[in-house]
Each structure stands twice: as C-alpha cells, then as structure tokens.
Symmetry: C2
C-alpha cells in the first residue's frame, strides 16, 4: 500500500501526494497511541483507574456545578450509552453523584468531595507524566506543533458534516 512511487508525470506525482496524506495520518495515529498507552498504563498501575474515567472526572472538575449526561457525552466525544456506564461505576465508588435537573429528563452529574480529592491527586501526576514524556521537544517544536495541530483540527472538523 505504501510503496515508493517514481515521480515522472502528473499522475504519479498526484499519487505521491495521496500517500503523503495517508502517511501523515498513520504517523499521527502512532504518536497518539504511544502517549495514550503510556498514560493508560500509569493510571492503571498507580491509581487503579482508566483513561476514560480520568477524562470524565477532569470534565467534572472544571464544572463544579455539574454537567448533564449529554454535555459529558459531547465533551468526551463518546456516545451517551457509554457515559452512563462510566458514571454508574464512579457513583458506586462514591467519586461522583447524580442529582435532579430542572429538566426532569436530564440528570446532573458532579464530583463528590471524595472525587475531588482523588482527582486532584491524579491530575498532578498526569500532568507530570506528560511534561516528562514531551520533555525532549524544544519549545519551538512545541509551539509549531501546537499551531499545526490547531490547523489540522480545524480542517478535520470542517470535514465532519
């Protein structure tokens, strides 16, 4: 699929461009998976938790008044049914609580006191892991990469109907 293509005419040059897009995507995916595995494995070994649970709590930590299930679902970019399951778990463990909303269809979710404490500890460690993992990049590379990913995000979001 990714073999080198001789570039001697317009058509094969176009194919080379195509391959570039594909290779860019594969490389992006690899980077993302590398970091994700790193974080998952540490969350698991040090805090006996998972990335989705951490992400969910991170959202709640930024919104002390709580969030509705569909807001969580949108922010985490996962389906509602999935959020239900993770919230169920965190409720059982006393880290999160459900409460009634003015809209009686909706449910409001927020961190408990225990959840706040637990999250704070994890968040500090998490940030440290990322800082260490990315320490090999120069400040310049950081900034450039950040900007280019902003462009990519913009472009990819436009491609979503």
């Amino acid at each position: 699929m990714l073999q080198a293509v001789p570039r001697h005419d317009r058509e094969s040059a176009a194919r080379a461009d195509d391959h570039r897009a594909l290779r860019l995507w594969l490389r992006l995916l690899t980077c993302s998976q590398l970091i994700e595995r790193h974080v998952r494995s540490r969350l698991r070994s040090r805090f006996a938790t998972t990335l989705p649970r951490f992400d969910l709590m991170a959202q709640l930590e930024r919104h002390p008044a709580g969030l509705k299930m569909n807001e969580l679902s949108r922010r985490l970019m996962v389906t509602g049914g999935n959020v239900t399951g993770i919230v169920d778990q965190l409720v059982r463990e006393g880290l999160v609580e459900r409460s009634a909303d003015a809209d009686r269809r909706a449910v409001r979710v927020r961190l408990t006191r225990l959840g706040e404490r637990a999250f704070g500890e994890m968040a500090r460690a998490h940030e440290q892991w990322i800082v260490e993992l990315l320490a090999g990049l120069t400040r310049r590379e950081h900034v450039d990469l950040f900007k280019l990913l902003a462009r990519l995000k913009q472009v990819a979001q436009r491609g979503e109907s």
Copy 2:
C-alpha cells in the same frame, strides 16, 4: 438560523492555566479522534467492517508471504490476544488464512485471494477519504506536521521503557 456549532470538546475546554505540554497532548488526541471517527464510520457504512480489521489486512497486504501473530501484534501495537480474535473473524469470513510455520509454536497469517480483492477496494476508498479530509492543509503544512510528528514519535518512544 444556522448557528455555529458550539465546540465543547475536551481540548477547547482546557483552562487557560493548563500547561503547554498538557494542551499539546489534548489537542493531538482530539485530532486523532476526529479523523479516526471519520474513518471508522465510513468503513462501517460502506464496507461493513472496522478499523482494526482494516489495519490488520493492510499489514498483510504489505507482506504477501504472511506474518506471524506476534509480528502482527507488534505492528498493530495491540496485544496478542486481541490479534487472535480479529484473525479468527477474518478466517471465518475467508479473507485471511492461517498456515504452519517452520517454528511449530508459530502461525503464519496471510490474505486469501478474496481478502486481497476486498482489501484493494477498501484501501482505495480509505486513501481517498483521508486525502479529502486533509485537503485543507497546504503542502507546506503537511510537510512540517509530518516532520514534527516524527520528532514527537521519537521522543515518546524513548520515554517508553
């Protein structure tokens, strides 16, 4: 009235005082997920398949002589148990076949004729989706991003023990 879609995903909600490294990571993750969802949904709707199955077949397509299970596992960056399950599925559907290896512990896996045909069709469509999705980036951005991701990959791989 068409309102702009509110963007409440993980990254844009990051607080201003979050550190650079963390924001870089969250943005990378967002980009990766955006593209991944795009591809998954199209693989599903047009070819009734999934990204992991596609990825596995892509590896086999590059190695007509076949790959051993542990090679597949390494290349796909997933655990062996996982590969077993996906290969089982593809074998049932006649897209892939297992054969004996000189090392009698090992199993060699390769595409069947049917699998080659099916993959070829999907690969063309897949490449087209990616090219279209990334079409908004300039050639320059493509190249820069590709290089920076190479650096990131290098750095993140070194951080793995």
